[in-house]
Symmetry: C2
Subunit: 191 residues, 2 copies
Amino acid sequence: MKLLEDRIRREGKVAPGNVLRVDGFINHQMDIELMEQLAAEFRRLFDGEKIDKILTIEASGIGIACLTAQAFHVPLVFAKKSKTSNVSDDLYSAPVKSYTHGTVSQVIVSKEFLHEDEHVLLIDDFLAHGEALQGLISIVEQAGGVVVGAGILIEKAFQDGGKRIRGRGVRVESLARVASMSPEGGVEFID
Amino acid sequence: MKLLEDRIRREGKVAPGNVLRVDGFINHQMDIELMEQLAAEFRRLFDGEKIDKILTIEASGIGIACLTAQAFHVPLVFAKKSKTSNVSDDLYSAPVKSYTHGTVSQVIVSKEFLHEDEHVLLIDDFLAHGEALQGLISIVEQAGGVVVGAGILIEKAFQDGGKRIRGRGVRVESLARVASMSPEGGVEFID
């Protein structure tokens, strides 16, 4: 999607270690008008699909997932990275490795909020190794639900997550697919 | 606000240890249509105020903060609970104790995203001891910004956070103020 690619070219910052910083408009400060347009694009791409619920994972996916849920007029569920006292004990869970944080966490969703035969659209800001997305897919499958697909803002297409998830037969729609990036050369996209 | 109080009475669950579970519509599964109405109420309450930016703290405040930012047509910034590789090193920070998680974390905001004289509205889902809110106020003050006020979904008015924050001269608008609650007696509100 040109709108997002242009914004990444203009304001994204590439740091060593394959880090793409988009914290000025996506994952620290959020440009809500841009996010609304990106949510509308997910609405367009998955138009005609039965979607009962949006599922994302805390924290930085919540903003775009919230606006996408608004666009589809369905509830949003966000998977949590730790069990807190305000969550029930009856949970689906899956291990998720974070390359950003260097940790493995058990991602959880209360069994109350995902049901058999529900059609679930997964939303997240980044897709790189695909760990978070695989965790969410596992959780929907544990509930007996149907994964309609995944809407991703930025896919690092030079890493293997997209290939692995698509290889499982899951439809992945990424609004910007990064072919390569470097601090010197900037960001190149797959068109 | 009657809409929110009624929903809490109907679907909120009181657990031992002063835990009010609203995970069916606010902080795990999110009822987006309800959230839109609550965001519109913040818009109404703070109408006429100069507001340049919404500030919240990850994770469960992001949804309502996102929709409130949408209602005010301003950007959203969410403070982070840990420094990750996709954030700059030039930070404002404040310690925040979490009674839910039983931890103290250093909450951070990149200096790029808060500026002198900016008028900032704080948004969060819960106000209890006021730790998160005090951290956010400190961060805005470090930046030389102006705290316009705080919009809170649910205030546990039997705890001291609201009193402490209002005592500092900060306007706090809570859409539901819990006077008392118990697993047997349910939830009572201050009208």
